[in-house]
């Protein structure tokens, strides 16, 4: 088991390393001058330009720049934003907490709503089941930006129940502000959780030990909680982990639509301004988080079913 974790972690580091090369290389071979943003108003004297180039290491060969970037990252220094001149690590910390809150809120919605839908679907087959499946099917086909715009139109602009932008101050206010964005992000994934819950519940309900429990007089609710739903958790976690990458990617769209200053909208703004240090840092961070989630789910699978580990090894 330990060996398994070690192997996975090494694999993770190797992939991360490769990805860092890809991200760094891609952006640096991009056309356009990263300093354009600084000199937007003018005043691009040769001396000023030279000073800025030195500040951002742009006067060094690209391998050296990559080395600086990599080695600085190990000490927690992600460079400086070209737009703000501020340390990228500061930017990421301030924006990251917002995105973290949004993602967690979204996951809560996905899991609760998904499980409820799945449960109801399984318990009431027939018209209820079918309608729910249609609804969730359409939801899954709704990209986050479409959901965002529709939600803004109906609930923020139309009914005025929710604010149209920002993250809010204080816990309750933040929850209020982040509800629509979290829902918009959750829409596309609720269906998957609902389905998995439904299948798992249907599976479990048919099992003999559930019948036995019923005969013994154990209440429905307890049966559901103890036997049935427990079984749905692993596949749910698997789905969340594997879709986490695309969920985080979705924050770019949702944060932009709702004017939330999180990592997603920061990434989009940085791309528009060619603020490379920020783009690189956020890109790598997203990949790292996703990769960690995948490893965790792999470990979970390995723990649950050692047979799977071996069979996977054989497949490789």
């Amino acid at each position: 088991m330990l060996w398994f974790i070690v192997r996975r972690s090494l694999g993770f580091l190797a992939s991360l390393f490769l990805v860092s090369i890809v991200i760094f290389g891609m952006i640096h071979f991009a056309p356009g001058d990263p300093l354009d943003l600084i000199f937007e108003g003018g005043g691009r004297t040769p001396e000023a330009e030279a000073a800025m180039r030195a500040r951002y290491h742009l006067d060094k060969p690209i391998i050296v720049q990559y080395w600086y970037w990599l080695s600085d990252m190990v000490t927690g220094d992600f460079g400086r934003s070209i737009a703000y001149g501020q340390k990228v690590s500061t930017l990421i910390l301030s924006h990251g907490s917002t995105t973290l809150a949004l993602v967690l809120y979204t996951m809560v919605i996905i899991v609760t709503v998904g499980m409820v839908f799945g449960l109801v679907s399984a318990r009431y087959p027939g018209i209820v089941d079918r309608s729910l499946l249609v609804v969730t099917g359409v939801a899954t086909a709704t990209p986050p930006f479409v959901a965002a715009v529709i939600l803004i139109g109906v609930f923020a602009l139309g009914l005025g129940w929710f604010p149209t932008f920002g993250e809010g101050d204080g816990l309750l206010d933040q929850l209020h502000h982040m509800t629509l964005p979290a829902v918009a992000l959750a829409v596309a994934y609720v269906g998957m959780i609902a389905r998995v819950t439904r299948m798992s519940v249907m599976d479990e309900l048919a099992r003999p030990h559930v019948e036995v429990a019923r005969l013994r007089g154990v209440g429905e609710a307890t049966i559901l909680r103890r036997h049935v739903l427990r079984n749905a958790i692993p596949p749910i976690m698997t789905i969340i982990a594997t879709r986490l990458g695309s969920l985080i990617g979705g924050t770019t769209v949702v944060e932009t639509a709702f004017g939330i200053s999180g990592l997603g909208s920061l990434l989009v703004r940085s791309v528009a301004r060619r603020d490379f240090p920020v783009i690189q840092a956020i890109g790598l961070l997203i990949v790292a988080v996703f990769a960690v989630a995948l490893i965790l789910v792999d470990i979970l699978h390995a723990r649950m079913d050692p047979r799977l580990t071996l069979s996977k090894a054989r497949q490789r």
């Binding site: 001396e47 604010p163 149209t164 004017g259 200053s261 920061l266």
Partner: protein
């Protein structure tokens, strides 16, 4: 073949329903009419003053400034707006566009190439240190430093030396007479910062971590990147006649134009200048506050690249004749604008008196008159039918999109082939920042918004001097250059203004930039507040004047 239609019927049904619902609401939206018909578009010269202090004010700017250093962002409105609450210059511009003492109390000009400034005593920076001549020298001189690469270096182009000739005296020596320089000391070029702070911050001056350390009504407290900049009242502010009324002043940047408007309407944010014209109706109807249209010089024009087809004046005139300016104003500004006759609004001459300013403007050729026929003839005469015209713009500024679209339509109508070139902000800015960018990108026309922060119209009209760094289209006219030189050396304000009228006439004829529209400055102010200046032009200590209604 059995085709179950249940699903599709459901979808089709909901589409139809949605369309009906949406269609109904869209139908209630009238096509934009002339706003002056509603009586909505009236210029407010000034607002009633505030009656007392207020605990906190939240303010919005159109986007987040990325830098507060005037050397880098002197011409960036969000940056300027925030900076003007914290920093001051040697002079201030009064509402009737005259200069009054601020950090300088007087100036003496013993000869045409020397200005001797006497500075105010007892002025303190945010950190408590007292302002001396050294600070002024440091602040001004850095604009001359090539390593700083200041965007207002042009204001100092005739400066030979800046010296502290006394603890509160600064002498500026010029290489030739330049009366515009003294006017510049009322604007961004004249901003005074503590020399020690400049030294300490170095290249980080004006960045989120350092901020500014100036003499104005508010102190820089905290900049939460992506969210807000918080200022606190400067209780040691030197101007007892204009004490800052708000205890906390917070700038908030919604990342989205619509979000900004909604926040104002909902009363979540107290006010803002220059709200997008498209939102004017929404704001006029809002109960939480009032929308005012203030006197402003801002005008939108299309810069013509003289090195392409646009070098032929017939082509420029043709495009100008074919432009549907009113249509562009409707699309880009929801009708809240007027047709521009030159690339600046009539308030450029406000220092001469508002009536005289209007008189001057009306005497210029009327660009509202369209003549597509004649335009086509001009194109035929120039022999350029079917030539490509590349129109560049950036989607980040919606008003510019409308102007580019209008130009596109005009160019197409007269028999040329317009090509739209969307550029990202850094590339688009290079068109003005770099002299070669426009030719490299092959751009013929691109929009610009021009303002005149100073009281002197010469600031605007010196733009089209051959050597000016702001002469983005490379217009060159020796006769015009001579006029500009003459005006620069003219000590009398009235005489100088008269010369600028002559310049305006040439610009209206030659169309180095094709003027399109003049827009009023908008101000939205929540009902609970009062005292905000009706316009942000001049940018004196505006923020301090805002207090309870």
């Amino acid at each position: 073949m059995y085709l179950p239609k249940g699903r599709r019927r459901l979808i089709a049904g909901s589409v139809a329903l949605a369309m009906l619902a949406a269609g109904c609401s869209a139908d209630n939206e009238d096509s934009p009419t002339d706003p002056s018909e509603d009586g909505a578009f009236q210029i407010t010269e000034s607002l009633p003053p505030a009656s007392g202090p207020v605990e906190s004010v939240t303010w919005t700017v159109s986007s987040e400034p990325d830098q507060l250093d005037p050397a880098r962002r002197a011409r960036n409105i969000p940056s300027e707006t925030v900076r003007a609450a914290i920093c001051e210059s040697l002079w201030r511009i009064t509402p009737d566009r005259k200069l009054e003492p601020a950090l300088a109390v007087s100036v003496d000009s013993p000869d045409p190439t020397t200005f001797v400034y006497q500075l105010r005593e007892g002025v303190r920076f945010n950190d408590g240190t007292e302002m001396t001549a050294d600070d002024v020298v440091a602040s001004l001189s850095r604009h001359l430093d090539p390593e700083v690469g200041s965007v207002v270096a042009d204001a100092f182009k005739n400066v030979e030396s800046i010296e502290a000739t006394g603890p509160l005296e600064v002498t500026v020596t010029l290489s030739k007479p330049d009366y515009l320089f003294n006017q510049q000391m009322a604007g961004e070029a004249g901003r005074v910062e503590s020399a020690a702070f400049l030294h300490e911050a170095g290249a980080d001056y004006g960045s989120p971590d350092f901020g500014l350390n100036c003499t104005g009504p508010f102190k820089f407290e905290h900049w939460e990147v992506g969210n807000s900049i918080t200022l606190v009242r400067n209780d040691d502010y030197w101007d007892d006649d204009n004490p800052p009324l708000a205890e906390r002043f917070t700038f908030i940047f919604p990342t989205d134009g619509s979000a900004r408007i909604n926040a104002l309407v909902a009363g979540e944010i107290d006010g803002g200048y220059n709200v997008p014209e498209g939102a004017s109706r929404t704001l006029l109807a809002a109960d939480s506050g009032n929308l005012y249209f203030g006197p402003g010089t801002q005008a939108y024009s299309m810069i013509a690249n003289q090195s392409g087809i646009l070098g032929d004046i017939r082509v420029r005139r043709a495009i100008s004749l074919a432009l549907d300016r009113q249509g562009a104003i409707t699309a880009g500004f929801d009708g809240f604008g007027s047709v521009a006759r030159v690339p600046i609004g009539q308030y450029a001459w406000a220092a001469l008196g508002l009536d005289r300013a209007e008189e001057i403007y009306q005497s210029l050729p009327d660009t509202a008159v369209r003549d597509v026929e004649q335009a086509r003839e001009l194109i035929a005469e120039a022999g350029v039918e079917g030539s490509e015209i590349v129109i560049a713009y950036t989607p980040q500024v919606p008003q510019m999109v409308a102007l580019a679209n209008a130009t596109f339509a005009a160019v197409e109508e007269i028999g040329l082939v317009p090509v739209m070139l969307e550029m990202e902000r850094p590339d688009f800015s290079r068109l003005t920042a770099s002299p070669t960018a426009k030719d490299e990108a092959g751009v013929d026309l691109w929009p610009i918004a021009l303002r005149q922060p100073l009281a002197d119209p010469l600031e605007t009209f010196s733009i089209w001097h051959t050597d000016s760094v702001y002469n983005h289209g490379d217009y060159s006219n020796p006769g015009y250059d001579a006029l500009v030189e003459q005006a620069l050396a003219e000590p009398d304000d009235q005489a100088r203004a008269a010369l600028t009228v002559e310049m305006a006439e040439i610009i209206a004829e030659d169309l180095p930039w094709i003027p399109i529209s003049v827009t009023a400055y908008t101000l939205f102010l929540n009902n609970r507040l009062a005292g905000a200046p009706a316009t942000i032009e001049g940018l004196g200590p505006w923020a301090g004047r805002i207090g309870t209604a």
